[in-house]
Amino acid sequence: MLNKIISGGKLEKKVIENIKIHLKILCSATECFKNAITTGNKESTFCVADLEREADSIRRQIISTIHEGAFLPFIRPNICRFVEMVDEAFDILEDAAFEFRYLNNEIYKLIENECAKIAKINSEICELLSIAFDSLLTKGDLKEKNLAIRIYEKQVDDLKFDITEKLRKIDIKNFWDGKIITDFVYYLTNLSDLIEDASDYLYIIEVSLK
């Protein structure tokens, strides 16, 4: 009876399901990127762009459903912001995949191990973000997931430091080689920052109704 009077419920379910799909696609994209990096197969990075396009249409659905009236207005901006942050993660991953295809192999060989480790962490950190979102539905311990994400992010920072140390010792003769490798490292290492921000937002969403 109450459900008939209240016009809510369906829209919220739709948003929650779509956010889950959005996060799953992000996990797939990071997994696909990790495989491309570990195998060194540059052609296989095109899957990232495909998944980013798919995620974009999901994001549009989420935002439009929220604007149709899903959730109380008080929490709508935070949910939208979270979705936008995940979308930024897709964009930066796509940029990393793009730069990867144009890398100078000689230079890349020097930092290949660290990059593979970062790609693996990126894949795991996205899985964690997906689990963190699920804990909003099941009353899991979000703080614990937040902390784990921060630990992963710290590991990426350490690896970034190692990469920078190695790259500084190289004599770059071609401007584009230098630019592409720096951009690639920037995109690769910045993904975890965005995921950390997104997980912080999940925490903000959770405490906003406490």
Binding site: L2, I5, I6, S7, G8, G9, E12, I16, G69, F71, L72, P73, F74, I75, S135, L136, L137, T138, K139, I205, E206, S208, L209, K210
Partner: protein, 311 residues
């Protein structure tokens, strides 16, 4: 001349519909929990149920216990109240329907040398003064209880619960609009001695409230809804439900009190949970001035109008 009293009371009922629907369901509509038309339909039904099931006590207080009403008093009181309420709505002045009706009722009774029950008047005035503070206490306790209880649920469950809570508190305020607000308007008419079909009068008055809501309330609802929906839902619910509970409590006692003032009390109660500095004492001062000015003016108009008729 009876028709004048009936028309005037129905005009006031129309005014209640146009103004008070926003008190009841503005938050729910603004939050998108319920559609406007559905909300107004629900509001109309609950107003009718309120007057039918629980309006008697307030009607008896207003129509019987304060003064000995006669037909000329009823006509003057309802006509003056209707005019004052219409003017105040048009000029956007905050006037309490209860205070206008009761003030003019006492003024007219004094002018016509009818018996005035001082004890009843004191009871009503005390109710007016303490009701916002009772609402403040209710809301304060409710907010604290919510913090301790439902905050332990998962986030999306809390959100779902709050939506249900908000619609429930809106329904409570709608019910009170019938049981207290409309009862205050119909009280003098019901106890004036005229032969009138109770159910028919309640139905017509409820239809008038419903018409006021459907024709004129959307603007007020939009203002209230958009203004209030950025509030956190806990505060909105605690303030509204605390006020609704307070009005219902006074309805059981047969006391005609203002929902608007109770909601202000409720909001202050929620504010108190964050510290005394959040309470807007300037607003409370304005309310105190209103408390004194509105019934006094209504008394004066009622007195002068009846003196004019008798002379």
């Amino acid at each position: 001349m009876v028709e004048v009293a009936v028309v005037a009371s129905l005009l006031i009922a129309f005014g209640i519909g146009s103004n008070d629907a926003s008190n009841a369901l503005g938050i729910c509509i603004g939050a998108g929990i319920i559609k406007l038309k559905r909300a107004i339909f629900l509001f109309g039904i609950l107003v009718f149920l309120g007057i039918l099931l629980q309006g008697q006590k307030v009607m008896k207080t207003v129509g019987k216990n304060i003064v000995d009403v006669n037909m000329s008093i009823v006509i003057v009181v309802l006509a003056i109240s209707a005019i004052l309420i219409i003017i105040s709505n048009w000029r956007r002045l905050p006037l309490s329907t209860h205070q206008v009706i009761i003030g003019s009722l006492i003024g007219a009774a004094v002018a016509s040398d009818s018996a005035v029950n001082i004890v009843s008047i004191i009871k009503i005035v005390v109710s007016w003064i303490i009701s916002p503070f009772v609402a403040m206490g209710f809301s304060f306790l409710l907010y604290k209880t919510l913090e301790k209880t439902i905050s332990k649920f998962p986030f999306f469950q809390i959100e779902k619960l709050l939506r249900a809570f908000l619609i429930f508190s809106g329904m409570l305020i709608s019910y009170n609009t019938g049981a207290n607000e409309l009862a205050t308007v119909l009280g003098p008419l019901m106890h004036s001695g005229i032969e009138i079909n109770k159910i028919l009068l309640f139905s017509i008055a409820s239809v008038m409230v419903f018409s006021g809501a459907i024709l004129l309330s959307h603007r007020v609802i939009e203002t209230v809804g958009k203004g209030i929906t950025t509030l956190d839902p806990y505060s909105g619910f605690a303030a509204q439900f605390g006020a609704g509970g307070c009005v219902l409590f006074f309805t059981f006692l047969g006391m005609p009190i203002s929902t608007t003032y109770c909601i202000i009390g409720g909001i202050s109660g929620v504010g108190l949970t964050k510290g005394i500095s959040t309470v807007k004492f300037g607003l409370l001062k304005k309310i105190a001035i209103n408390f004194a000015v509105t019934p006094s003016l209504a008394f004066l108009f009622g007195y002068l109008a009846l003196k004019l008729i008798y002379s």
